[in-house]
Symmetry: C2
Subunit: 709 residues, 2 copies
């Protein structure tokens, strides 16, 4: 009730106060601070190198003819890349003009915009459009929005330079037309609660501020019907959890955060009374913090859902986000560590503050924290359990994915785990099957193996029931449910995250508890993984571990398929797996040791007489050679009703091929046992360096959920 009042009050503010400040520039750079930015470029190294880089772009732009081609190509194609190049030139020339006051930059950009104004309305819909009505300048409306988000920043910088007649031409024939394209032709996207809509509303809103078009700003903030049922504010309400987590996952959070942060900065400039930075308890700052917490020390975002695995926090979106969070939202000095690693700042009021603080030696190491990050607009739709141990230069990290499906980009991987150590992936996620911007690979978009492989359950480190994908691989069904957080704790002795999923497979209840625990004398913590499954009926339970590196030891009998390989199945991702070998255990403990980036990792697992180990290689049913040949071992229980998988993943030793030494190549964990296992309690024991450890999980005791002795 209180919240509703706040929203109404906020809505009134929106209507009454649009665009008081009609000075230019007014978004990332401001008339007020431009002199200080200019001075800072000569004083602060990071601002200087960043500016030099941008000026190089601007100089290259003014030395080249203006090129505004008729749209023809898909992602990565020539016209696609040229229009991308143009919007980057727009920012570079705009900023270079503001810093140098050299008219050549402004003139070039003005002429480019006039050229666009000449031709934009003559273009048909994009010939390679990916949807209907689809993009105009690019194959996706999304790219058209991005074009405007950038280009309007450039125009903001040269606004005062352009004479009124040209302004009129540019604003009417180009910007108004693009806004119409976004708000009307693709109005359906504009009014979604989705990151594409954020780009669209940010583009329209920022254009509204720069051009003084109150109506556009209002539509941007409150949807094209101006009711607030959609639009930017509603996106902040609905797309994030109270912890700043984004339903589509870290990779898309990285992408989405860019227009959120940029538009927020524009709102703050033009309507500070809206207190956008404080909106929803400072949600946007939390989102930046959460985005960074969803990375590992290799700088890469957790590749859950559709994610490209080479995306790091060095990407431009995060440069904007880190600069604005630090420069405007009082983020703490450990953000400077990230900015330093990014190696650049945005030439802006915020970038000035970051570069100045770094030059003053304020940088502190980024503080990675173990944490539960809630998912869902209300924070009650599961989440991501993040367990971390060790300093940034040698951190061990485990992630339990127990959040929502993440819409169309989500993967069917409830209770998936990721494991990192020694700055490397140990247990990995395939991420998305996509070659970004490589036109010969499905036009740079997702390949069909993204559906048939990457999203399927078996592509992840979580259990597959009867070789079928969770929720019948229907994401709309998956979207209705989420796992339940049972417990999260990060104390001095250990860190633990436990979650329960009962909807992914009909009649099957799954509880996964992951613990990071460092026994006495251990150099690295162990990942203890207790995966409990209950069902009234018998099923086949497959638990894959997708590992990086090379297997160096399997002290049990293996039957290798030496002269012929067959697929492990025909659907649900299994059609993509070659079965290379199978293993059968005699005792009740199995071990598999992998050498990965000069360190050993042993998975010690519980087995019984029916347990099979299947070694698989990805790459079957791949006629276009789109898949990477990754590898896994699958622990398989062919016929069980209730079953508890218990695994301990132990980082150990070192193998240094340059200095030629090897230490600790054998695991220390021994005698893994499940001594008690009921609905209420699982008790696991193991020995480490001849000391016995007992892990007791009380599933129904939220006070003392787990003890390790």
């Amino acid at each position: 009730m209180k919240r509703m009042k706040y929203i109404i009050a906020f809505a009134l503010l929106v209507i009454n106060t649009v665009s008081k400040a009609q000075q230019h520039p007014s978004i990332m750079l401001t008339k007020k601070n431009i002199e200080q930015v200019r001075a800072g470029i000569n004083k602060y190294p990071l601002l200087q190198t960043s500016y030099n880089e941008l000026k190089k772009q601007a100089d290259k732009a003014i030395a080249s003819p203006i090129n505004v081609p008729t749209p023809a190509d898909g992602g990565g194609g020539i016209t696609h890349e040229q229009h991308k190049e143009n919007y980057k030139q727009a920012v570079a020339c705009g900023v270079a003009y503001q810093v140098t006051k050299d008219k050549r930059y402004a003139e070039h950009l003005k002429n480019m915009l006039l050229k666009y104004a000449d031709v934009y309305n003559t273009w048909p819909r994009h010939p390679k459009r990916k949807q209907e009505p689809g993009g105009k300048m690019f194959w996706q409306n999304l790219n058209d929005c991005v074009w405007l988000v950038y280009t309007i920043q450039g125009y903001d910088c040269i606004y005062d330079y352009v004479n009124p007649a040209d302004r009129k031409k540019i604003e009417e024939n180009l910007f108004a037309s693009v806004v119409k394209e976004l708000t009307e032709v693709n109005g359906k996207i504009f009014n979604l609660i989705h990151n594409h809509a954020t780009w669209s509303t940010a583009a329209v809103g920022m254009t509204g501020y720069v051009l003084g078009r109150k109506d556009w700003v209002e539509m941007a903030l409150k949807g094209s019907d101006k009711t607030g049922k959609t639009g930017f504010l509603k996106q902040i309400d609905d797309l994030f959890s109270p912890d700043g987590y984004y339903a589509e996952g870290p990779y898309y959070l990285r992408y989405a955060i860019h227009p959120f942060i940029l538009f927020a900065r524009a709102i703050q400039q033009h309507q500070p009374e809206l207190k956008i930075y404080d909106y929803r308890n400072g949600l946007l700052k939390k989102a930046v913090q959460t985005a960074l917490q969803c990375t590992y020390t290799n700088k890469v975002f957790f590749p859950v859902n559709d994610a490209l695995k080479d995306k790091t926090y060095e990407s431009e979106e995060l440069v904007y986000a880190v600069d604005i969070a630090y420069g405007e939202m009082n983020a703490s000095d450990d953000f400077l560590d990230i900015a330093q690693q990014q190696g650049k700042v945005i030439i802006s009021d915020a970038g000035l503050k970051v570069a100045k603080a770094i030059a003053a030696g304020k940088t502190k190491p980024f503080v990675y924290k173990p944490m539960w990050i809630s998912d869902g607009a209300d924070g009650k739709s599961g989440g991501l359990g993040i367990l971390r141990n060790g300093p940034n230069k040698n951190q061990t990290l485990a992630v339990l994915k127990a959040g929502t499906q993440g819409m169309g980009h989500g993967h069917f991987d409830k209770l998936n785990i990721l494991f990192y150590d020694n700055n490397s992936e140990v247990l990995s996620d395939y991420g998305a099957a996509r070659f970004l911007n490589v036109e010969t690979k499905t036009g740079g978009g997702y390949t069909k193996e993204n559906e048939s492989w990457a999203k399927q359950t078996v592509a992840h480190n979580t259990m597959v029931v009867d070789k079928k994908t969770q929720f019948g691989a229907e994401w709309e069904d998956a979207e209705k449910f989420h796992p339940e957080l049972l417990y999260f704790d990060a104390n001095q002795n250990f860190q633990v995250s436990s979650a329960k999923e009962v909807n992914a497979y009909e009649g099957v209840e799954m509880i996964r508890t992951v613990v990071l625990f460092k026994p006495e004398k251990a150099e690295s913590p162990l990942l203890i993984d207790v995966f409990k499954v209950k069902s009234a009926k018998e099923h086949q339970y497959d638990l894959p571990f997708w590992y990086q590196g090379h297997i160096t030891n399997t002290p049990f009998t293996i039957r290798s398929n030496n002269t012929q390989l067959n697929t492990l199945g025909t659907k649900d991702g299994y059609q993509h797996l070659w079965l290379t070998a199978t293993g059968k255990l005699k005792g009740n403990n199995g071990q598999i040791t992998v050498l990965n980036n000069k360190k050993f990792y042993t998975t010690t697992f519980l087995a019984d007489s029916s347990t099979q180990v299947q070694f698989v290689l990805l790459g079957a049913s791949d006629p276009q050679m789109n898949l990477r040949n990754e590898k896994a071992f699958i622990l398989s229980q062919p016929k069980s009703a209730n079953h508890t998988f218990v695994n301990i993943i132990e980082p150990h030793g070192a193998n240094n091929p340059i200095a030629e030494f090897t230490t600790g190549f054998m695991p220390v964990v021994k005698e893994l046992k499940l001594v008690t296992d009921s609905d209420d309690i699982s008790v696991v024991t193991f020995s480490y360096n001849n000391k016995l450890y007992t892990v007791t999980i009380n599933y129904n005791n939220t006070q003392q959920f787990i003890t390790i002795k």
Copy 2:
């Protein structure tokens, strides 16, 4: 005749002048210079950090109990690693004692040596010995030799500290026994012309100098019979080509150079009149230079023959070699670039000079040169053709392997090529099948796939006739022959290397000509590869290209093996290959584009109606999972007598997933044709950016072997 006289004179010198200088220390550190080294540690950053590193080791040593276990384990095992640790401690404690004069270091080392003296003679032969009589402290005599090379340096440093009674005990019960072990028990190895013998002679010779044992030095220099038919000097004569190339290849050159350089330094100290640095026209300095020229800008040695691919010039052997070459042999200032990248120097007279020169800002970028490096003791047994273009930060490199077999560690890969670009391998060599020091993998030694796969011809980027390995896979046969250098040139316009091989396959003559050539407007040079084969009979000719990266485009029809994989053959390496797909071309040009480290590489190749393209994945017939799953495409002519493969490998474009842009993803080379082809001449044409280029190779014209117009 003149040479023989020199050798006799040298031999007389050896006998007459041994060990005049009986001061200690006298090898890497000297009594004369120790004060300057001490001062330098406080002055020169690289010497300081290197010393701190070493002192940490020494401090760790004196804080730990002495541990001299009875030998039990193979490579990577506990006793193996402990004895390695001990010899490193010996150097660390010895040097730390010399620098600090803190007696704790000397005392620790003395006690360790006394402990060894107590037990050494009680040990049986090593229980896991790899040969007979085999090692004693380690599984290989080789490791015993290395132990002595290090340990004697430590003893040299504490010699003056040890009282005569303890000295006697250490020298008689330990060092004399080890020398006996090397010169007598394993005397056969001592008298080989082989890198193992170099370690053995260096160990014995250095020990002779430190202990004042003239007879040991003489044996070391001239073989145990002191005739000069074997021994260190004869090894310098026979193991290197006049260019300083080592028959076993760059990887083993790296390894072998260590005892050569160290013992040479000891000789220079004790018998400067031998002028060992000038021996054979300054051969040892050339060998260091050649070792560095056999690396790429990724720091890795060319992985020809049995090579581990993670060995870089940062390895300790090269630190010794670079320091001594610069400090003592007047190597030029570009060696400092390598020393800086190594990030350390040896705490020694030579290391002092290197650190001082770096501190004085004398470093120049290492000068990589295109060159022909001759093989064979007389330099007439073929060699390695190295073509390079571009600055160190973005260098394109092609290597043609046309030297001798390289003895037991050689691969059957005559006329193999390697190709590098953008600091990455593009066309790669598997190297050795070995997990160094990983005891669970064949005790850390070569796995059996090293024979069945890594050495076989199909594992390399060279032609396979009738699916059989060169020389019937008999290395002793291969050792008798070598390719003939037809031509090498590196001029302003292009670089070329051409060689002929007529013995690898009976009745088959092969000429491979590789050219690095940069057409107008090209950003990177093209690798033009003309592989001509002649035979009176028809054969199957397979030309594999082992690529790194991911195929992004094959504009011809491919039939993929989606649900079952079979091996491509049953022997000669083919049993390890899964055939994943086959391609058939319609026109007479095929293209395969690979994305590797954010850059594209297209191989444009000539095809006719019989040409088959086979896509293969390594990993079949591998029951222990010892192989990496690498990939190749094989251009196959099923039935030809004479045939000329023509391929152009073109680096192009860029794909930046962080900044999200792609440029030049399509190749520019088009219309590749072989317009003339006879015994005397091959004429190849192709277009690049619509300009026609003609490459004319005159096989019998050494004056104008090749023209490109």
